[in-house]
């Protein structure tokens, strides 16, 4: 027997990257804008989607892919708003990956959509690592989680194009300093758009909705060009 050293140099996540790339090509061909929505559990992902549907469903055709460990509560909430929702149960898995999205796409008619929203599993760490083929990563941090979170979970803040700071109606009752969140987020990702919102009162949502609508229109333009 001989002991040998074999140079390999391969990205460990290449299998996922390939699937994500295949998904991305399908989204691009269909001209639909796709965002990957991430946050810790309870930050308000599904509430944001309900508000987003209320704000845009009359002029943008959308669908939602719902990632959860178990149950289909969230998909049902979305369907009650009249939007198609495909539930993925990860059965304990802490994130969605490119393969799960590929399977979920079999249930959707991409030609009939302008916008696809992928609601990831509630988790501030793992989902950031797995590309799904999305155009943008969007994250929510609710003020009840505390202003130290950008420093504790830097990767998601670093990769997200948009940071939604949710539940700002609760700020009078909390010691959370939004200026501190903004400052740390700027250090982690100076190109990030930050919107302060309350899904409960509706405050701040128009700015988010117009950001999103613009992205959807830009993607359509890119296709028709």
């Amino acid at each position: 027997m001989a002991e040998i050293k074999v140079p390999v140099v391969r990205n460990i996540l290449q299998a996922n990257e390939r699937l994500a790339e295949a998904n991305r090509r399908r989204f691009d061909e269909a001209g639909i804008f796709v965002f990957n929505l991430m946050s810790s559990p309870g930050a308000g992902k599904t509430s944001l989607l309900e508000r987003t549907i209320e704000g845009l469903a009359d002029r943008i055709r959308m669908a939602v892919i719902e990632g959860d460990l178990q149950s289909s509560y969230d998909a049902e909430r979305i369907q009650r708003k009249g939007v198609q929702a495909v539930q993925i149960n990860t059965d304990g898995g802490c994130h969605l990956d490119g393969n799960m999205i590929q399977i979920a796409l079999e249930s959707l008619d991409l030609q009939a959509l302008d916008l696809l929203i992928i609601e990831n599993v509630g988790n501030l760490v793992c989902p950031a690592e797995f590309n799904l083929g999305e155009d943008e990563k969007v994250m929510i941090l609710s003020v009840t989680e505390g202003d130290d979170k950008p420093s504790k979970y830097p990767l998601m803040f670093q990769l997200s194009s948009v940071l939604l700071v949710n539940k700002i109606d609760l700020l009078p009752y909390l010691d959370c300093d939004v200026a501190k969140i903004r400052e740390r987020a700027r250090q982690l990702n100076g190109r990030q758009d930050i919107f302060e919102i309350s899904c409960r009162t509706g405050e701040g949502l128009p700015a988010w909705l117009s950001w999103l609508e613009q992205k959807v229109r830009d993607k359509q333009q890119a296709r028709t060009r």
């Binding site: 027997m1 001989a2 002991e3 040998i4 050293k5 074999v6 140079p7 390999v8 140099v9 391969r10 990205n11 460990i12 996540l13 290449q14 299998a15 996922n16 898995g93 802490c94 994130h95 990956d97 988790n123 760490v125 793992c126 950031a128 690592e129 797995f130 420093s151 830097p154 990767l155 670093q158 700027r186 250090q187 982690l188 990702n189 100076g190 190109r191």
Partner: protein, 121 residues
């Protein structure tokens, strides 16, 4: 927690490379994992040990190198090490940067024993 998924992908790649290079067993697996990859090395090692039992990589040691976080400023061309995850150019203060290293999640090489040879022990 996603270290388990990473370990699965790693084992698939190592098994494939071992087959291609006709290795009977793999002893050392060298990886580069940047700080920004968000991986806890102990969790990856634990997951890999668990998954690799009774495979070609059973008992293999993961040697993990951690490259520094380095960015390149697209405005003033400065290349600098990122400290405390402050992604702002220390010279001109702007955020338009290209990450040079720090997000690696790569297999670099593997060491093991070939099948051929004297066939002994």
């Amino acid at each position: 927690m996603h270290e388990l998924a990473i370990a699965e992908s790693l084992l698939a790649i190592v098994t494939e490379e071992a087959r291609r290079h006709e290795l009977e067993s793999v002893h050392i697996i060298r990886l580069q994992i940047g700080v920004l990859a968000g991986i806890v090395p102990e969790a990856l090692t634990f997951s890999f040990e668990m998954l690799s039992q009774d495979t070609v990589a059973s008992g293999a040691v993961l040697e993990i190198e951690t490259p520094p976080v380095v960015a390149h400023c697209l405005e003033c061309d400065l290349r600098f090490e990122v400290v405390n995850e402050v992604f702002l150019c220390p010279r001109c203060g702007q955020p338009d940067l290209k990450l040079v290293s720090g997000r690696e999640l790569s297999l670099v090489n593997i060491e093991g024993e070939t099948r051929d040879g004297d066939g002994g022990n």
